[in-house]
């Protein structure tokens, strides 16, 4: 290996990742703030009114990002959990634990904003439809993962039990994604696909910017949360004791 190569595994050590995450999160938080301001401006002042749904369609600018992140965060969580199960790395379990609450909140938001959209357009807050039901199951999978981990005292064993649940539950994500194709459903199909987008350019731009803003927010908040988890679980090491001594005096 050349000496100029980046030693990625160095960052897999919780100690190194703690300080790396501390340096990175403010950048993601700043990007999230700027993109949210731009995205909201486009959502309300640039994107035109929809021909069919009037102003009500503007819910798309929070509904689509929340739904997309709820699914993607789950896959990342299952990925970290599976990696931890296979290679027994300490950081993997901590990352999975840090991802779950954010994913659960996105799934919750997807359902709430979906209800706010369903009521005026379909006439019902909720229907037992394939898309909605599979998204509800996703929320329950997140909550089940968190409850299972919380119920096991030994963190390494909690990681393993949680990882199995996360991996088995991952089958639900493609079911959510393809549910609008596989079953007859009230929910509309994807607005953006490989064939191109079925919406006006400013609407699409606003939606994509909001998606990226949600991404940046999720990364920032997960980095912040994993820092607390690393401190808690590496509490017996000298470096954590030093961090506590220096930072507790400041905060």
């Amino acid at each position: 290996m050349k000496s100029t190569d980046i030693h990625w595994f160095k960052f897999a050590a919780p100690q190194n990742f703690y300080f790396l995450a501390g340096k990175m999160w403010p950048w993601f938080a700043a990007l999230a703030t700027v993109l949210t301001v731009v995205g909201l401006y486009i959502s309300f002042f640039v994107a035109p009114v929809d021909a069919q749904q009037g102003q009500g369609y503007r819910i798309i600018f929070v509904h689509v990002p929340a739904s997309q992140l709820s699914m993607f965060v789950y896959l990342v969580m299952a990925g970290w959990a599976g990696f931890g199960l296979a290679f027994n790395t300490r950081l993997s379990g901590m990352m999975a634990t840090a991802l779950a609450p954010t994913g659960a909140l996105f799934a919750f938001l997807s359902l709430v904003t979906g209800a706010f959209w369903g009521k005026p357009m379909w006439g019902a807050w909720w229907v037992w439809d394939a898309r909605l039901t599979s998204e509800l199951i996703l929320l329950f999978l997140y909550l089940g993962f968190m409850a299972l981990q919380a119920s096991i005292d030994d963190p390494r064993r909690a990681d393993k039990a949680g990882a199995v649940l996360a991996l088995v539950g991952a089958v639900n994500v493609p079911i959510i994604y393809f549910s609008v194709k596989w079953w007859n459903t009230l929910h509309q199909g994807a607005s953006v696909s490989m064939k191109g987008a079925s919406m006006a350019t400013p609407m699409l731009a606003g939606m994509l910017i909001m998606v990226v803003a949600f991404w940046m927010y999720a990364i920032a908040i997960i980095l912040l949360r994993v820092r607390s988890i690393i401190l808690d679980r590496e509490r017996h090491t000298d470096w954590v004791k030093n961090v506590v001594r220096t930072e507790y005096a400041v905060e």
Binding site: V49, G56, I59, V62, L109, L231, V240, E247
Partner: protein, 63 residues
């Protein structure tokens, strides 16, 4: 500009409850999560700091 007045903007073409409900819930969730993450960090630092102090006390008592 697509809005002729502030009230027209707030009315959202009759969809005010649904549009503002969605954006409002999203904002509330973000505020809650940011508070939760900060509270968690303070709690972890407080616990570990107490643990360090009690360990130091017990060592002094032994010596």
């Amino acid at each position: 500009m697509q809005w002729n007045s502030v009230s027209e903007f707030l009315n959202m073409g009759g969809y005010a409850l649904y549009v503002w409900g969605s954006f409002g819930c999203t904002a509330l969730v973000a505020v809650f999560e940011i508070w939760q993450v900060r509270a968690q960090r303070r709690a972890v630092l407080r616990n570990l700091s107490n643990e360090l102090e009690s360990n130091a006390d017990s060592k002094e008592a032994q010596s």
